[in-house]
């Protein structure tokens, strides 16, 4: 890592002051370069800090030491003038005045970027779809951007990394300092994403996870992307922020439809009702990406809070859809179906793709618990179903077969 220049060290030192917020940082750096801004703050003479709120905090901060700290951590300090600063963020009303980066943030230049985001408490269905989208988008040359959270975010990045070295690199946007891997179980994922692409954050080194940082992070996720895809999201879940942030910037929002019975799809299904375009696979996203990138000049961002997402998001029209060609990633292949009439076939027909409680399967099949258990275990072993505790889900739609209508019971 090259030495951190004095100007950048000053920017980092400002960002790391006690009580600093993204908004205040923007104000401090609005008319001054980092070095002047720092000396003004340290002298208590900064006009945007009339109460000298930051002067006390700046006392005892040694700019050189801050620069060393960032160098040792292998973290770059980016200001909007830097070539490596994401171009999409320049001119964004919410653009961070200082951005920290691990890896190579320039991977965002000249490549389309798609955010794949969603709830931390995701269903296996959501995780699978996120992983498939991540893999297929990366294979198609799209930078997959996500928040590195548990659930959907992590699955999308894992999928993107799975696509191999020739695929487009991923970019993670963290809400904590870049030396604070959060959640801790994703430390490996962080390192892998940073090694292949980049992990960026506006939080200074050592910043712990804090409630307010996550929605703020989501605006950066939206800001660097051409399209945002929400895979699964609860009613009023955090990903709604990302969708709203995208909508305010006229960035199209795609949504993966889910079961109306699944609480993890309540937020996404509501976004669909609001007019977001539906996403079935990477193909649907790629169509939206090509449309979004054709509009070279993005209209001025609309910094209007509280405008419904529907007003800002236009789904792509049907006739503009690309025909499904050979370039489309192949759908995952289902294993050979169990023979008709077997217990396995009955159980598979009774399983939904969302987790189905074992009691429901028992009622639908009328099998005895022992037979049911055996059939479920065999379906899992054959790759047809996923197992959890007290619930199972099927992994693939049944080929050419609809669930038999359940007989209404005379009552």
């Amino acid at each position: 890592m090259t030495a951190v220049s004095h100007a950048r060290a000053c920017a980092a030192a400002l960002a790391g002051l006690e009580g600093m917020t993204p908004r205040r940082l923007v104000a401090l750096l609005e008319q001054w370069g980092p070095e002047e801004a720092w000396s003004l703050v340290a002298a208590g003479a900064h006009p945007r800090d009339p109460e000298c709120r930051f002067r006390a905090a700046a006392l005892g901060v040694e700019v050189g030491a801050v620069g060393d700290r960032y160098r040792c951590a292998g973290v770059d300090v980016l200001v909007p003038e830097d070539p490596a600063y994401p171009a999409a963020l320049r001119g964004d009303p919410g653009a961070p005045a200082v951005l920290f980066a691990m890896g190579d943030p320039e991977v965002l230049a000249d490549r389309p970027a798609v955010a794949v985001v969603g709830t931390r408490s995701a269903t296996p269905y959501g995780r699978q779809v996120a992983a498939e989208l991540g893999r297929d988008l990366a294979s198609a040359g799209v930078v997959v951007v996500s928040g590195l959270a548990l659930g959907i975010d992590g699955a999308a990045h894992a999928g993107a990394l799975d696509a191999g070295r020739r695929a487009a690199p991923p970019v993670g946007v963290a809400a904590t300092g870049l030396d604070v891997a959060y959640p801790a179980v994703h430390r490996q994922l962080w390192n892998a994403v940073a090694a292949r692409g980049a992990v960026v954050s506006e939080a200074p080194l050592g910043a712990p996870p804090r409630r307010g940082r996550f929605p703020a992070r989501n605006r950066i996720v939206a800001g660097v992307c051409d399209v945002v895809v929400v895979v699964e999201c609860h009613q009023r879940g955090g990903s709604i922020y990302t969708a709203e942030a995208a909508a305010r910037r006229s960035i199209p929002v795609g949504v993966v439809p889910g079961s109306v019975r699944s609480p993890a799809s309540a937020g996404t299904n509501a976004l669909l009702v609001d007019g977001c375009f539906p996403v079935r696979d990477a193909e649907d996203v790629l169509v939206a990406v090509s449309l979004a990138r054709r509009r070279v000049d993005r209209p001025d961002p609309l910094p209007v809070a509280g405008v419904p997402v529907a007003a800002r998001v236009r789904p792509p029209r049907d006739d503009q859809r690309r025909p499904r060609g050979a370039s489309a990633p192949p759908a995952p292949l289902a294993p050979p179906a169990p023979a008709d009439g077997t217990a396995e076939a009955m159980v598979l027909a009774a399983l939904d793709r969302v987790p189905t409680p074992i009691e429901t399967v028992a009622v639908r099949t009328s099998l005895r618990v022992g037979e049911l258990a055996q059939a479920l275990h065999r379906l899992v072993a054959a790759g047809w179903a996923d197992a959890g505790d007290g619930w199972w889900s099927s992994r693939y739609p049944l080929p050419g077969q609809r669930r038999p209508e359940r007989r209404p019971v005379d009552g």
Partner: protein
């Protein structure tokens, strides 16, 4: 003048013979009790005096000394009222010593001269030795459970004096109710009320048949309590030894006994999660009351909201679960109470209570993990079986098959218990790994299934034996022969308990 009257006191749930020696001498009138009496015994002076006066008998204005022997045992309870009264009457010559000799007495006196039952009559009547014993009329059924001969009863002091002097006959014992037969439980909730919930009902059946402790995980309203309450109905009735032990415990605790006296059906105890250590385990300063673990002896101990119980209370379950008894320490040594029960517990799957698979509620995986960690691994390890319950949905209410009635399930359970008895254990949960290998050989497919689970790390060696035992019970319920089949193991794998039931995630 000296009179010696045999009687008994309670130490724990056991009776200890006590000899009540009453000495009446000239001197300053007074009444002294020596020989480690507790407060209740010291108060007996006032009760005995009032009872004698109310019965039209004289209270001697002389010096009365009561010695309780042996002196090493702390004597508690009010059951010594009657022997003290008889002793006073004999020592003052109201009764002839020969009329009194050769009889033991146990009972409390009312101020009006009535003779009242005391807690633990079964144990007390057992303890007095080979002499005939006179007990309060209301307790005669309970005392008769000792299967000893020579039980007489009286309901007032006046009647007792009449009987002892031969002025009137001893009351007829024919009036006493016959002991209830050991079977036939009426008025208990029936399993057929549970619609749907087929897996949960099966888990109940396996738990009852194999003596496997059961954890029910589900949101409020998913019928956890409703299911648990129905387990005593499908459990086999306790054998006579266990029934007597359970009756003793209930009697010592002063709880009402069924007509006929003997506890003939498995008890169901559901202590509140706020229960104290003493309430759960037994003990206390004044009387060593048996705790809930002993009151559940021979039946079901149901702990609803398992996660809310104090850790010390849950840890105290370890000894009874391992040894079938609980030791209660007190100032002078320890007493042990029987405490062999089927442990059934219920809890919400997650902080918000909704639970279900990941993504179905708003609790983050981290919050769920924290919630699951509230139960210590050793405690969770006590449960062989776990079922995840859902709220019964419309599917079940309309299409769910009507539940099998308790009587039918109980028959299968009884048969499985009979099979277990042929293996030398009460239930399969007690089979040692060595006995298990002999009495539950695995079919090749079943063996390879377990081997695969062991290799993949899904099962530990300990977990393997557990699944094997459950599979034995499942096979017994299905009427299978010696060999345990693949499908029995499949079922056992679905029903077994593991930590991940609280996380809703795939087993690891």
């Amino acid at each position: 003048m000296l009179a010696t009257i045999p009687s008994a006191v309670l130490v724990g749930v056991e009776g200890r013979p006590v000899s009540v020696e009453v000495h009446v001498s000239n001197g300053l009138p007074g009444f002294t009790v020596v020989g480690l009496p507790d407060a209740a015994v010291r108060e007996s002076r006032d009760r005995v005096r009032a009872a004698l006066l109310s019965s039209g008998l004289a209270w001697p204005l002389r010096r009365i000394t009561v010695n309780l022997a042996p002196s090493g045992v702390r004597k508690g309870g009010s059951g010594l009222d009657l022997p003290i009264a008889v002793g006073v009457l004999a020592a003052t010559g109201v009764l002839d010593v020969r009329e009194v000799a050769g009889r033991a007495f146990v009972g409390e006196l009312g101020l009006d001269g009535s003779v009242r039952p005391v807690a633990g009559m079964l144990a007390l009547a057992d303890a007095v030795g080979d002499v005939p014993v006179v007990v309060p009329s209301q307790a005669v059924a309970e005392a008769a459970l000792t299967a000893r001969s020579g039980i007489e009863s009286c309901s007032t002091v006046r009647q007792l004096v009449g009987c002892l002097t031969g002025a009137e006959p001893w009351p007829d014992r024919q009036a006493e109710p016959v002991p209830s037969p050991l079977t036939g439980v009426v008025g208990q909730p029936d399993l057929c009320d549970v619609r749907g919930q087929r897996v949960a009902r099966r888990a109940l059946e396996v738990a009852a048949a194999g003596g496997h402790h059961l954890l029910l995980v589900g949101p409020p309203g998913s019928g956890k309590t409703m299911l648990a309450e129905r387990i005593p109905g499908i459990l086999p009735p306790p054998d006579r030894g266990t029934a007597l032990e359970a009756t003793r415990v209930h009697s010592v605790a002063g709880l009402p006994l069924p007509p006929g006296g003997l506890i003939g059906c498995p008890p169901f105890r559901a202590p509140h999660h706020g229960s104290s250590f003493v309430a759960m385990v037994g003990g206390g300063t004044a009387a060593l009351r048996p705790g809930e673990v002993s009151l559940a002896h021979g039946g079901v101990l149901f702990l609803d909201e398992l996660g809310e119980f104090a850790t010390s209370v849950l840890e105290a379950l370890r000894q009874p679960l391992e040894e079938g008894i609980v030791r209660v320490s007190r100032a002078r040594g320890t007493v042990s109470y029987p405490a062999r029960f089927l442990l059934v517990a219920a809890m919400n799957p997650c902080p918000c209570g909704e639970g279900g698979p990941p993504g179905s509620c708003r609790c983050s995986p981290v919050a769920r993990e924290r919630y699951a960690r509230r139960l210590s691994a050793p405690l969770l390890d006590r449960f062989d079986l776990a079922v995840v319950l859902q709220r019964t949905d419309a599917d079940d209410l309309l299409g769910g098959d009507p539940g099998e009635p308790t009587a039918v399930v109980a028959q299968r359970v009884a048969f499985a218990r009979y099979r277990a008895a042929t293996r030398g254990v009460v239930a399969n949960a007690l089979l040692s790994p060595e006995r298990l290998a002999v009495t539950a050989p695995l079919a090749p497919a079943a063996r390879s299934l377990l081997d695969a689970a062991l290799r993949s790390g899904e099962l530990s060696a300990r977990g393997l034996h557990r699944v094997h035992r459950i599979a034995r019970t499942v096979a017994d319920l299905d009427g299978a022969g010696l060999l345990v089949d693949e499908r029995h193991v499949h079922e056992a794998l679905v029903l077994r308990s593991r930590r991940s039931v609280l996380l809703g995630e795939a087993p690891r």
